[in-house]
Amino acid sequence: MTDLVAGRNMRTVKVQINPELCQGHGRCYDLAPGLFRDDDEGYGQVRSDGTVPLEAERDARLAALNCPERAVELLEEG
């Protein structure tokens, strides 16, 4: 999994959840509780503005790769 965090220099990584796709499986808030939380019905929510700190990038990718609905998206900028 080292390739998942390699090569980050000046980039910013953000996460977002597509609410049209999310069905509340909760894999994102299970795997990356620092980045995601659930709402009162169990649907995933992004904490704060979705910016992923460097040390949480691996968790963010795991959350995206494990979402059964492919609702978690990673946006790389810069």
Binding site: M1, Q23, G24, H25, G26, Y29, D30, D38, D40, E41, G42, L62, L65, N66, C67, P68, E69, R70
Partner: protein
């Protein structure tokens, strides 16, 4: 509102509400399968014993298999086809999600007999919304301490025994206890729940009259519980459903009891199967067992792999209209056996699909379904499975299959061990 004013559940009111709807019955066909591509049956012993080689074979040579049994049914085995059907609620109805020889009347849609699992849009969303808050990760965490203590008490009861039946003496008791607590049913009624589950999920090929008789036993029981809760309201799901409102009024009695039936039935067999299958795997795979004992932190990851490889739940759908679909000619009212277990072993979706890899980090499995019908109890199921395995591995780190030939599996759409003799001494 005073309980006495709630007369929705009086016998007279219930009878008046019963509509004259008739479904369709098909001929009951049993016996050995001639060719799995053209005559499949998930109720035959070969499937219960080991469905994976059958599914793997079909995926290669006939990815959407057919059978004339049950009045006509299709079995897709590729992940992409299973997902497409799960997402396509326009063409595939959830009006009945247990494949049998009886198709409930079309007028039953979009509510179905056990909402929201049996519901289609738009009713589905509203009925599901009622249940979601009761099953979030945070809500089910409140059951954790009691569940853990209960798992310990089951293992305490093994004192002095060298062989235990992990399916019968351990796995099955855990979800029964949890769901009885949540619905507010007497814990001593547990053995009855297990009979209800067998009646509904395994009695598929029984004569219609006997099947109706068995289903009405369940609903009689649920009505008794409703009346008990009307007399003595308390903080549980039954009272919650009795008081819940949809579209500005209280729920129809059939929706209340249908939802209760769903929670009772769907909450038991499924978790029981997942816990049992995981223990079965660990009993026959010492390397995985030893690694999990040494690295308890790996359990959440390993658990997802058990859910992928031994997904207990297969659903059903009904085709809404005649159509050509992914290369086959489907007819209105054909069943779809929607096998999430088969999808979970599709090599096009998973590396080493046939192997159990307990540290598989990327695991986009469909054990809890896909789309709008994602298992509403998935957070509860994961909590039960995690605690059941955690407590077992902590208390009984060394165990093996006592009699591999003596392991039996349930028949039908929920698959898991029903006899699992383990040597623990």
């Amino acid at each position: 509102m005073a309980a006495a004013a709630d007369d929705r559940f009086n016998l007279q009111a219930l009878q008046a509400g019963e509509e004259e709807l008739v479904g369709t019955r098909s001929e009951i066909i049993t016996g050995p399968v001639a060719d799995w591509a053209t005559d499949f049956s998930h109720l035959e012993p070969e499937w219960s014993a080991d469905p994976y080689p059958i599914q793997d074979d079909l995926r290669q040579r006939c990815p959407i298999a057919h059978t004339e049994r049950f009045g006509g049914a299709w079995l897709p085995t590729r992940y992409e086809d299973v997902a497409a059907i799960a997402y396509d609620t326009d063409r595939f109805s959830s009006r009945s999600i247990i494949l049998s020889n009886f198709r409930p009347p079309r007028e039953l849609a979009p509510i179905g007999g056990s909402p929201p699992i049996s519901s289609d849009p738009p009713f589905h969303h509203d009925a599901r919304k009622l249940l979601l808050p009761a099953f979030t990760k945070k809500t089910v965490e409140r059951q954790e301490a009691a569940t853990r203590a209960f798992c310990h008490s089951l293992i305490d009861s093994f004192e002095g025994r060298e062989v235990v039946d992990a399916a019968h003496d351990y796995a099955q008791h855990i979800p029964v206890r949890v769901i009885a607590d949540m619905l507010g049913f007497p814990p001593e009624d547990g053995p009855q729940f297990r009979a209800f589950v067998e009646d509904l999920l395994e009695g598929i090929n029984l004569p219609p009259d006997e099947r109706i008789e068995r289903v009405s036993r369940l609903f009689d029981y649920l009505l008794t519980q409703v009346h008990d809760h009307l007399d003595r309201p308390r903080d549980d799901l039954t009272t919650y459903l009795i008081n819940a409102e949809l579209y500005g009024r209280k729920l129809d009695p059939s929706v209340v009891t249908g939802a209760m039936a769903l929670l009772l039935i769907a909450g038991i067999d499924t978790s029981w199967s997942a816990i049992g299958a995981s223990l079965w795997h660990l009993a026959k795979t010492p390397a995985d067992r030893e690694r999990l004992v040494a690295e308890p932190g790996l359990l959440p990851t390993a658990m997802e792999e058990f859910l992928r490889a031994y997904a207990p739940v297969t659903m059903a759908r009904l085709v809404k209209q005649d159509m050509r679909w992914h290369g086959v000619d489907m007819k209105a009212e054909d069943w779809i056996l929607l096998s999430f277990p088969a999808a979970n072993r599709d090599p096009a979706q998973f590396d080493q699909a046939a192997d159990v890899v307990i540290d598989r980090e990327v695991n986009r499995h469909a054990a809890f379904g896909l789309g709008i019908h994602r298992c509403v109890g998935s957070h509860l199921a994961r909590m039960e499975l995690r605690l059941a395995l955690e407590v077992w591995l902590d208390r009984i780190p060394a165990f093996t299959l006592d009699d591999p030939g003596g392991v039996t599996w349930s028949a039908g759409q929920i698959r898991g061990p029903r006899t699992l003799p383990l040597r623990i001494g």
